[in-house]
Amino acid sequence: DTAVSQTPKYLVTQMGNDKSIKCEQNLGHDTMYWYKQDSKKFLKIMFSYNNKELIINETVPNRFSPKSPDKAHLNLHINSLELGDSAVYFCASSQDSLTSTGSPLHFGNGTRLTVT
């Protein structure tokens, strides 16, 4: 009965590789997000999607490409991984839209990405 699930939990890879993180929510929410948590624990928005449409791209490098095949899924693909991409990546969802705002975000358990 997991609400927001993301896989894998841990990802260790070498510089230059391409990797993907998958996210699925079964809450029926309209909006999904990717957040990056750096080594100092700061959480920063990367992308926000509403009903499969990109609504926020917070100056993320082009190497990061989110894809939302349907409103329950938001995957993150990262090309040409760099050392600075090492972080914890959180997927989240909320029942927010143009007509209803202020809902809390429900987070997945995070994916710890380590680039060596």
Partner: protein, 119 residues
Amino acid sequence: AQTVTQSQPEMSVQEAETVTLSCTYDTSENNYYLFWYKQPPSRQMILVIRQEAYKQQNATENRFSVNFQKAAKSFSLKISDSQLGDTAMYFCAFRSSFWGQGGSEKLVFGKGMKLTVNP
């Protein structure tokens, strides 16, 4: 752009004591939402409490309550009867009520505060 400031990077408290975590924010909007999230060592992000800016009454959830001072743009979290399981990072967060141009489409977080509850 909205900003959220948590000025205390770290605090410790004895079990059963009361502790208050401070948070200030900056916005020109009149209606918005404020949140406290908890992140224990397990890394999970857990919603602690939510406050709607247009409601004067402070939100409470069991041992957790807030002191919302709208004019001062202050949103502190009080934890009563601290328990060992309260040991975690605590994040204050802001959400606009306006949808569009990067408003309500994201939650803006403070830098977090590490709380340690000692036995």
